[in-house]
Symmetry: C2
Subunit: 247 residues, 2 copies
């Protein structure tokens, strides 16, 4: 399984993913699920993947191959020369459709799911910063002010905290804290989501990532968030009045 | 969908269920999912159901019919004369197997799931207070000190708070608060779980429920828990240090 969350607030974009993949409980590996590209000063793009790893790796390879081909032939459209983030989401959707058309039937014949989802976030000069969720069918939806975040993978454990503290106006530092708490709740409850984590932050109108780092299991900042949150949650819980008194 | 949670701590048992059922999003109804029986001073039993409603209603009817038959024939074994809570879980499992044998195939032929689960909690004089989770196959597991609670239905949203605040030593009043916060998180995040709620509390060695009530959407105590928890959660969140500073 996987847990990836991306948030689009007024100030910019925040992406956080885990790195655990598994084919059954006895076959656990580590794969990056976050990919970023920058044309400094012009565009910055981040993607996160969940679902069948062969499908999403294939999508990423198709995007990379197009970039390679465009070196010789500038007419090849790629995520680095597409004229909007919307168009980039379409390119990801097209690569997804191509992968699904090629492999879905044979994957499913083996009793394995071919579903996959990709979050596409970024901004290019002249456009807004945007966040899309691309489905296995290649279609996609966009995050709005009403729902400023998307989750893919094992999303339920970490949803309540996002619903409580993230709005379109939340500052980026707080969004980072919120997605880390959301991830921490998921890590506590589900073994198929695991450290280390990949974090990326893109402030609006900068066209380069301000934060792009890996957070390891021994990272004192994440350990601190995890410990503090547990303690504060228990304090807040104990401070609330009882609902009933029991004889 | 459904959300039911039962907790077994040293002091006793707490059960909480929602009352929403749905067959698709456009066919939502209200059904009780919690059932209790008392032989005051001798035994008290509570059950909660999730999954296919025709299956679980059938199981409850089979248990009730046995009680009716035992009025004329004291040799009929029922949940009211069985000699242990373990044996009661077996009787529930047998009724579940009978329902599954009779309907599973035809239900599944219609493309509908026949899965169902039942939580069985209670104590009889001379025995311990116990909590079992009965599967669709009729087999069951028991809650222990390591994992003092079971959830059925839409359990993921409400799991992190239980993992953080409930242990085998938690007092009953706090357990009630914890399951209400857990339910509140689920209600916020999932439309298929809905008010009103059914709550039951059984203190150890009393053999009668101390609390057995319905909590309506307009219940000021639950509204208070929901509002206070939201506020305290945000406060705790804001008081935590930021993980990163962003240019």
């Amino acid at each position: 399984m996987t847990y990836c969350v991306a948030v689009r607030v007024t100030d910019g974009l925040v992406l956080l993913s885990d790195t655990r993949t598994n084919a059954g409980l006895d076959n656990i590996s580590r794969f990056t699920k976050m990919f970023t590209w920058e044309v400094p000063g012009e565009r910055a793009i981040g993607m996160m993947c969940s679902g069948n790893l062969s499908i999403t790796q294939g999508v990423m390879t198709r995007l990379a191959k197009a970039i390679e081909r465009s070196a010789d032939d500038p007419d090849v459209e790629t995520i680095l020369n597409a004229d909007s983030i919307f168009r980039i989401a379409e390119l990801v959707g097209e690569a997804m459709q191509a992968q699904q058309d090629r492999y879905r039937e044979s994957i499913q014949a083996g009793g394995v799911g071919a579903d996959a989802m990709i979050l596409v976030a970024g901004q290019r000069k002249g456009g807004r910063h945007r966040l899309f969720m691309v489905y296995a069918a290649g279609n996609f939806v966009e995050a709005t002010s009403d729902t400023p975040y998307f989750q893919i993978g094992e999303h339920k454990y970490g949803k309540p905290i996002l619903d409580r503290v993230v709005t379109i106006d939340t500052p980026l530092e707080q969004v980072v804290k919120a997605v880390c708490v959301s991830m921490d709740s998921t890590l506590h409850s589900n073994l198929s989501v695991g450290m280390p984590l990949d974090l990326a932050v893109l402030r609006r109108d900068r066209f380069a990532f301000q934060v792009r780092e890996r957070i390891g299991a021994d990272d004192p900042r994440f350990q601190n968030i995890s410990r503090e949150w547990g303690g504060r949650l228990r304090e807040a819980f104990l401070a609330m009045p009882d609902l009933v008194s029991i004889d």
